[in-house]
């Protein structure tokens, strides 16, 4: 561009030259922009197949699943008359008789269409005990003969109980916060405020706390085991360090399932761990390590140890040993030198390793399923259970939603303060 700058001496020529240069410059930069736009499109086109495939095979499934947590039209679709009749109900006390009649008609309709069981199940999720009441009421409506539907409805106390109609009215809204709140053991009060669900129905907060506890325990254990080993590997001669690194990488490269299988063998009542504990005198009898919290934490610590260790090691090996020597020569005690010179420098690596392990632990599924007992199942196991056993997709979706929010938030912190590059292993 500097070649286009005219001399400053000849003013008129300068003016002419500038305008000519301007148009030149404009057309050149326009052409450049066009060319660059084409290049950008070309690079985008190269990446497009994978991005499209990921959107289809991964993005849409996740969005679809999460939408199930807040969108549930089952009740609204099954109870059209009731939804209409409840349209002008203020939510206080009982709705008028028209709502009872409408519900009776909707219930009979669903029975006739064969969707009665699905409706009973959907209502039961919001109104514990509704399943049997729906089926019972439908039987009476069908077999009642000349008894008017309104009378049948009024004769079943369940339909006049407090809480029944607010729950039905809530259910007729397709967009719902019910499942997300349930996943946190919360619900809407009759007066429109949030409240804790009664203790006998509360399960999920405990499961989330358990998941966090196990993740924290495993993170701490991997740090205690991994930090000294990382330090040792970073300070021994190259050849020996390579051998030690292989000892870390071999388990790292073995699949989680295989390592979990190995631990199910080791943790048996007559397995090697119990043999060792007895021989060392740490236990006087054989312990039940399988299906226990401690067994789960031991196995998860083994699986996660390389994830914590490797980011720490990758920072430690960049620190010159001369720094510690300098600190000693300036009169620092070993502990002071370690705390004030070494630790601040390896801290990012420690953070990266620990955060990574904590995040990965939140999503553990295989190991708790095979080694944990009934009271050691983590949040992922509950999600799988709601899909496989309870067939309650909405609850599975709500738990997934919350687990994903925690995971992404922690990962956001990770990317923000440590950078994505720290994810690289070795």
């Amino acid at each position: 561009m500097s070649a286009l700058q005219p001399s400053e001496l000849d003013r008129p020529a300068l003016a002419r030259g500038r305008s000519a240069a301007d148009t030149d410059q404009k057309s050149v930069s326009a052409a450049l922009r066009r060319a660059e736009f084409g290049d950008r499109l070309r690079t985008l086109a190269l990446a497009a197949p994978l991005l499209l495939l990921l959107a289809l095979s991964f993005g849409i499934p996740i969005v679809l699943l999460l939408s199930r947590a807040v969108y549930d039209p089952t009740i609204a679709n099954a109870l059209p008359r009731t939804s209409q009749a409840l349209g002008d109900w203020n939510g206080q006390g009982q709705p008028d008789d028209a709502a009872f009649t409408a519900l009776a008609a909707d219930l009979r309709d669903n029975q006739a269409k064969g969707t009665g069981y699905e409706l009973a199940k959907a209502l039961n999720a919001r109104l514990p005990g509704a399943r049997s009441q729906v089926l019972k009421t439908v039987r009476q409506l069908e077999g009642g003969g000349d008894k008017p539907p309104l009378e049948v409805m009024k004769s079943v106390p369940f339909w006049s109980a407090p809480g029944t109609w607010p729950a039905i009215a809530n259910g007729t809204h397709s967009i719902t916060s019910f499942y997300l709140l349930s996943a946190l053991d919360l619900r809407w009060n009759a007066d429109g405020s949030l409240e804790r669900v009664p203790p006998e129905q509360a399960i999920f907060l405990q499961v989330f706390l358990r998941t966090f506890f196990v993740a924290a325990a495993v993170t701490l254990a991997t740090l205690l085991l991994g930090f000294p080993l990382a330090y040792l590997i970073s300070s021994v001669p190259k050849g020996l360090a390579a051998i030690l690194i292989v000892a870390v990488l071999l388990p790292f490269w073995t699949s989680i399932l295989v390592r979990t299988a190995a631990w199910t063998v080791l943790l048996q009542k007559f397995g090697l761990v119990n043999d060792l504990l007895l021989w060392l005198g740490f236990a006087s009898e054989r312990l039940d390590l399988m299906y226990s919290r401690i067994g789960l934490i031991i196995a998860m610590t083994h699986i996660q140890l390389p994830f914590t260790l490797l980011p720490i090691y990758s920072v430690m090996r960049t620190i010159a040993p001369s720094q510690m020597k300098a600190a000693y020569s300036l009169g620092a005690m070993p502990f002071t030198a370690f705390r004030r010179v070494y630790l601040p420098q390896v801290f990012p690596g420690v953070m990266a390793g620990c955060l990574l392990t904590f995040i990965l632990c939140l999503g553990y599924y295989i190991t708790p399923a095979l080694i944990g007992g009934a009271s050691d199942q983590l949040i992922s196991n509950f999600i799988a259970n709601y899909v496989n056993v309870e067939l309650n997709w909405e609850m599975a979706a709500a738990l997934s939603f919350i687990l994903l929010v925690f995971t992404l938030a922690l990962f956001g912190i990770f990317a923000r303060i440590l950078g994505l590059d720290r994810l690289k292993m070795v």
């Binding site: 660059e36 290049d39 690079t43 985008l44 990446a47 197949p49 994978l50 991005l51 495939l53 990921l54 289809l56 095979s57 991964f58 849409i60 499934p61 996740i62 679809l64 699943l65 199930r68 991994g226 000294p228 080993l229 030690l244 000892a247 870390v248 071999l250 490269w253 073995t254 699949s255 399932l257 295989v258 390592r259 979990t260 190995a262 199910t264 063998v265 080791l266 048996q268 007559f270 090697l272 083994h302 140890l305 390389p306 000693y328 070993p334 939140l362 599924y365 399923a369 992922s380 196991n381 999600i383 799988a384 899909v387 997709w393 687990l403 994903l404 995971t407 992404l408 990317a415 994505l420």
Partner: protein, 275 residues
């Protein structure tokens, strides 16, 4: 170096304790993965040491019975399919991302890595929900698609690393010499980044071959893979055949990942030299 030239007693004690602790940690790391190996050659039906005798009967079960054979077959179908798609598309994407003209890399990169971060149960359940609607549940194509999402980040990262040392001027030189883009890619770029591509392929293969959660939700009874057969076996009844299967799987992943890492190192080394 650990010890100073004139170590004090305190220093000696500290270093000894460090070695002792690290020795125990290394035992903790290695013993569990080595334990299934001798057990898989045990002739008895129990997991108790000392071993009763040497035999290959459990390998005959894994390699000889119809149930395990079909599982190995399914694993190979899924892993090869995943490797082909993930390697091809992942390499193209890595090339695109390594170009400084690529728009929005800061957004695309985290999106590409997200399958590694999202808890795998969520991926599995979501795939099950969506694939059932579009007729992909209980198909090999469905499992391969889901596995491609999990495996492709490894290809993008490995090939991306081998491209950091690749000199783009070589492509310009090829273009000036009259090579069409495809020819330039096949004859100039691909040979130089091949170690990275092969390394990515090995990572993709292992990722798919070891995966069990997605398969658990998407596979029909006839599509059970080797890890799923192991998972079911571990839940039902512990049989020594599982230790044989575990040993085989471990051997495969370790061999492939050693190759992958050597290739990745070589790829980076070569491009670095070219720089």
């Amino acid at each position: 170096m650990l010890l100073s030239p004139y170590p004090t007693l305190g220093e000696r004690i500290r270093i000894t304790l460090l070695w002792l602790w690290c020795g125990l940690v290394i035992l903790f790391l290695l013993v569990p993965i080595l334990i299934p190996v001798p057990l898989s050659f045990n002739s008895g039906a129990f997991f108790i040491f000392p071993l009763e005798g040497l035999s290959t009967r459990w390998y005959e079960v894994v390699l000889g019975t119809q149930r395990w054979q079909s599982a190995i077959g399914n694993s190979l179908i899924v892993a090869f399919g995943t490797t082909m798609i993930a390697t091809t598309l992942g390499t193209l994407t890595a090339i695109a991302l390594s170009d400084e003209k690529f728009p929005g890399r800061r957004i695309v990169m985290p999106l590409l890595l997200s399958p590694l971060i999202v808890p795998v149960v969520i991926t599995a359940v979501g795939s099950y929900l969506f694939y059932a609607r579009v007729g992909l549940a209980s198909t090999y194509a469905g499992i391969i698609l889901a596995h491609t999402a999990l495996a492709s980040p490894f290809v993008v990262v490995t090939v991306g690393a081998s491209l950091t040392g690749f000199d783009r001027n070589l492509m310009r030189a090829a273009a000036i010499s009259g090579a069409r883009p495809l020819t330039a890619f096949l004859r100039v770029m691909l040979p130089l980044i091949l170690p990275g591509v092969l390394s990515g392929a090995a990572f993709a293969f292992v990722t798919s071959f070891d995966e069990v959660v997605v398969v658990q939700f998407l596979a029909s009874a006839g599509q059970r893979t080797m890890p799923l057969e192991m998972f079911i076996g571990l839940r039902e009844k512990l049989s020594p055949a599982i230790t044989a299967a575990a040993t085989l799987m471990m051997a495969l992943s370790i061999v492939l990942l050693i190759v992958a890492n050597l290739l990745a190192r070589r790829g980076q080394g070569r491009s670095a030299k070219g720089n």
